[in-house]
Amino acid sequence: MKNIFKHKTLQKFVSILITYAAIQGLITVGIIDDYWQATLATICINIILAVSLNLITGFTGQFSLGHAGFMSIGAYVCAIITISNPTTVGFIGGIIAGAIAAALVGAIVGLPTLRLRGDYLAIATLGMAEIIKIIFLNMEITNGAAGLQGIPQFVNWTWMFVFTVGTVVIIANFLKSSHGRACISIREDEIAAESMGVNTTKYKVISFTMGAFFAGIAGGIYASYFYFLKPDLFGFLKSVDVLVIVVLGGLGSISGSIIAAVLLAIISTFLQSFSEVRMIIYALLLIILMLFRPQGLMGSKEISLSVFKKIGLKSKRGKEEV
């Protein structure tokens, strides 16, 4: 508990608070209107998704294409619980239940499939996400292809901020622990890690389950903020969306994922009405990035000062453009 008062930790804590207060202030004054608040929600959801996928793909080196599947589990569980119990308790319970459900599915899917390597794992996770989507399409309780409507909206800026910062802090601290180091060693060289006594299967499943858990949280926030769900929202394209963020930011860089999430959310807000052009730009971004800078914007480096100050700066810059 002592190190909470260390200089750096305190600095981080204060900058988190300042970011929160600054944006809350702008919302109260009305500079961030509803339209940009939706972008803010997208940014937060994408940060959670990207950081959790980065844990799986960037840090542990397991290529997953099924992140949207986990997100959809969290979203539907949270939506169904809040519809039947529209109170704050129901909402919190829904998000946690959704995250746990996603983590459970992640563990169940991860245990057998994480024996596979590289592209096989990618295809297996892609198949899993498709299966989840088809199950939701055919279930009674999810209202099939028509989707769930009128989910009570509980998420506001405070909740989004708490969950986003929580996710980032937990994953960043996990990576600094011995468990996190074990995960990184698997990415670097699986055989070497195994011969050094790292239980690779265990750590792969842990990181996969954790990633799924936080994807579930992102799904819950999505359901509660946008109050409309349908299975098509969580298709292959959503997984690719998250992957683009992770790759653009840099595989193995949490701050990179955050920057990329903010950047891409702002770009796509401007391109809202041209969805085809947006996808073409995404596609070109992926190709050009892989050809000329395969390590992404940040590589595996982190911004050392304060990640959260950066978020504040970015979103302020976004506002000035309006």
Binding site: Y120, M128, E130, I131, I280, L291
Partner: protein, 294 residues
Amino acid sequence: MDNFLQQVINGISLGSIYALIALGYTMVYGIIKLINFAHCDVYMLGAYIGYFCMTSLKLGVFPSLVIAMLACTIIGVLIEKIAYKPLRNATRIAVLITAIGVSLFIEYGTMRFVTANVRAYPPMTGWLAERFKIGNMTITAQQILIVASTIVLVALLQFIVKKTKMGKAMRAVSLDKDAAELMGINVNSTISFTFALGSALAGAAGVLVGIYYNSIDPLMGVIPGLKAFVAAVFGGIGIIPGAMIGGYFIGTVEVFVSGYGNSLYKDAVVFAILIIILIVKPAGLLGKNTKEKV
């Protein structure tokens, strides 16, 4: 019983399409260990090229088929040269992400040009509109066309791979790229040739699907592409007969699930098969397990 045989016939027709696409996946994977996500979009482009040959140029089915195959060959080689060749020594993940990028680019680029609307293939006339009745079963001339074209193309492919010098080079490169290069094989042109062959088959599959199902759209390749990949994995990726077996198996399973069960679950069953195969026998039906060396 008649219903069962009818389903078998439908399954074989659908399976032929999957087999044609799966061959492209399997050959490319065999030679550069890449899941070519863009392959399913070459198939989509084939369908569109065939469509424009038949409607704008008023060509017959066979000339359209040949033109679509030629055009897809060129597209496939271009994709390889522009997007994959500079990444020959990059990590597998980087190439895979590029492949996803190329795939999205083709899909949405096409959408920009031809709009996202579903288009209907021109109705078939002459002998292609015929239906043959055997007992209570119906075989359409289109199904015969699909199966016959598949057999001819696969026989041709088998001839190229087994009997020609280029085929020998392909097999050598897929076995050991460095050793093949040392033996004087031009690895780059061999890889391009592999892409050319696979894309031609995908183009043919596109036109045949257009004729069979009568409707095409820019995202038509995504799900069949994934299923064809499942077929390739099922048979053992990198193995040409494996892709054929896988294609026919997946096609038949799909038709049976929608015929006897719930058609909404047909995709889920295919992906479940994939996951089971990957867990039980990752090398596929005809594949051999290779030990990993440090």
